[in-house]
């Protein structure tokens, strides 16, 4: 169980986390989402006792993490796969961490086996690929067999096989009753893995709900229409109360300019009403498709206002 209550963290004049509250439950995989710079890593750093909160509280298993003399039995974490000394072997790195927490040396071999690094145990970490370092970081998190696991962008640099493995691992850890908290800036990643979502932007909570609820709320229906007479149809549909935007699709560009079919994205009217109106006004339709917004789009829409760094001009 992770509880964050009215948490604020400022670095100088910059407020990274702003009165953030949420709860992460055991037995489930919870995704922690937000655009780059939303405050995800800052929240995790406070949660793990690395940074002191400016105000508010963050607890793991009901205790401020800093109050544990040893941490590995209470939470395992992978914040950044690069947080290792390249001169040590994978085994030595884990052996030192295990020893500091009074964990038996045989546990090192077990976790190396579990993450698929048994053959690389005696190799220096400096020569590891990013994917291998991620696996080593996950091995570190598993060392103390903790009830809470926290991973910051765990699939970065992993090959497709690694991504599949890691998803299955997270599902299994949650099924064992552990609290699994994953941060990512990609919704598509969470769609595959998470049960619950905590979405933040500019340090503030945007929403905390199950993936199912999030998806249901986010499915705004739109209809894609392809017609050779876009101007006329736009006028008809707008009069009927719909919002019509030029869509991107076949028929855009040079073809559209020469009077060929153009694509329109229509919201506010269902497909059957659009078909009826077009029939009434004798406008030919080439295509009529209903689209449900994906989770990714719902996420983009939710966080659009809080995206810190936008490419190109500002909105």
């Amino acid at each position: 169980m992770i509880e964050v209550n009215e948490l604020t963290k400022r670095y100088g004049a910059k407020t990274a986390v702003d009165r953030l509250s949420f709860t992460v439950r055991p037995g489930r995989v919870t995704g922690f989402l937000g655009p780059n710079g939303a405050g995800k890593t800052s929240t995790l750093r406070v949660l793990l006792g690395l940074d002191a909160p400016t105000s508010g509280t963050a607890t793991v298993g009901g205790v401020r993490f800093r109050d544990h003399p040893r941490g590995l039995h209470h939470a395992g974490a992978l914040l950044d796969a690069g947080h290792v000394h390249g001169g040590r072997t994978a085994r030595a790195h884990l052996a030192a961490l295990a020893r500091s927490n009074g964990i038996a040396a045989r546990r090192v071999a077990e976790v190396l086996e579990e993450v698929g690094l048994a053959d690389a145990a005696r190799r220096r970490v400096g020569g590891f690929s990013l994917g291998m370092r991620q696996r080593l970081g996950i091995a570190t998190a598993l060392l103390g067999d903790p009830p809470v696991l926290i991973f910051d962008e765990p699939v970065n640099g992993m090959d497709p096989e690694g991504v599949l493995w890691v998803r299955r691992l997270f599902r299994r850890l949650a099924a064992e009753g552990r609290t699994v908290f994953l941060s990512s800036h990609l919704m598509s990643e969470m769609e595959q893995t998470a049960d619950d979502l905590v979405v933040i932007g500019q340090g503030r909570l945007i929403t905390a709900e199950s993936v199912r609820d999030f998806a249901a709320r986010g499915t705004r229906l739109s209809v894609t229409v392809v017609t050779p007479r876009p101007t006329e149809l736009t006028a008809v549909l707008t009069t009927a109360g719909a919002t019509v935007e030029p869509g991107d699709g076949p028929g855009d560009g040079p073809e559209a300019a020469s009077g060929a079919a153009a694509t329109l994205t229509v919201t506010g009217l269902p497909a059957d009403r659009i078909a009826a109106l077009a029939f009434e006004h004798r406008v030919l339709l080439h295509e009529l498709t209903t689209r449900a917004a994906t989770l990714e789009e719902a996420f983009m829409e939710l966080t659009a206002d809080s995206v810190e760094y936008l490419a190109g001009e500002t909105r």
Partner: protein, 281 residues
């Protein structure tokens, strides 16, 4: 909430300081550079004693009967300043690296999640550093003494530990290593940045004493408070006499020099222990 964990979490072992010391020892031992660096340091320092002893061996026939009889150079050959300044440099910088390399690589965050008790972790590092460099210092100082006196024995100019001040010089030279290593470790934890820590440690240990002289009382007080000056005082088997000097001399006392030896590492580590608890990692 139907899938709540059925088995209780594994029994949490007690937090033992000894485990932290063992973990820090694994960290030091598992770096390939450690044995090589220490061997090189020993070679350079003992080599400097060999060079000093050989030089006096060759000049011996030209020395006055008085100098020959009093063995005025024998103890100095065992602990020549150039070699022991190298030891100060190496111990100070390597002591600093044990901390700054963790900050530089980000390993400190992994370590702090494993051991949220940051003070205990730094204290364990200090214990391991002190122990390791005490052993290195003892080996190097004993080696310097034995090898240099073996060479001087060829002129019947060797001294033994019965010689006045010889044991003190041996102990002070051995302890020079942990004193400097702990100072470096403390500065490393305070500064965190490797290059800046190296420069600061080197400046404090080797350059700073040069800014002060023994002529003026205030200046001498500062100079005598330096690790380098204290080591020089503790390895002297003669005291410069005011009667022979044209300028006033404010020579450090033996007990004062031992105090300086103790205070520098204590203050550096104590400050570091206070600061690591307060700062974000």
């Amino acid at each position: 909430m139907t899938t709540r964990r059925t088995t209780p979490p594994t029994a949490v072992p007690p937090a033992r300081f000894g485990d932290l010391v063992a973990a820090e020892w694994i960290k030091i031992r598992s770096l390939r550079s450690t044995p090589w660096t220490l061997a090189l340091v020993a070679l350079v320092v003992i080599g400097s004693s060999v060079a000093a002893a050989v030089a006096d061996y060759q000049r011996f026939p030209h020395y006055s009967p008085e100098a020959r009889r009093e063995h005025a150079f024998s103890l100095h050959d065992a602990f020549p300043a150039e070699g022991y300044m190298c030891l100060m440099l190496a111990a100070g910088c390597i002591g600093a690296i044990t901390v700054t390399s963790e900050y530089g690589t980000g390993l400190i965050r992994t370590t702090t999640v494993a051991v949220p008790a940051r003070g205990a972790m730094l204290a364990a590092k200090a214990v391991v550093t002190a122990a390791l460099w005490s052993v290195v210092g003892a080996v190097v100082a004993t080696g310097s003494f034995v090898v240099s006196q073996a060479i001087l024995d060829g002129r019947d100019a060797a001294i033994t530990l019965d010689h006045s001040g010889a044991v003190r010089a041996l102990v002070a030279s051995a302890l020079l290593a942990p004193v400097c290593a702990l100072l470096g470790l403390g500065l490393g934890a305070l500064i965190r940045h490797s290059a800046t820590t190296m420069v600061t440690t080197t400046f404090t240990l080797l350059m700073l004493p040069l800014f002060f002289s023994t002529e003026k009382q205030w200046s001498a007080a500062i100079r005598n408070g330096m690790v380098d000056s204290s080591w020089r005082r503790l390895t002297m088997d003669w005291v410069p006499s005011q009667a022979d000097s044209l300028v006033p001399l404010h020579t450090a006392t033996i007990s004062g020099s031992w105090t300086v030896y103790a205070l520098w590492p204590l203050i550096a580590v104590a400050l570091a222990l206070i600061v690591v608890r307060r700062r974000d990692v």
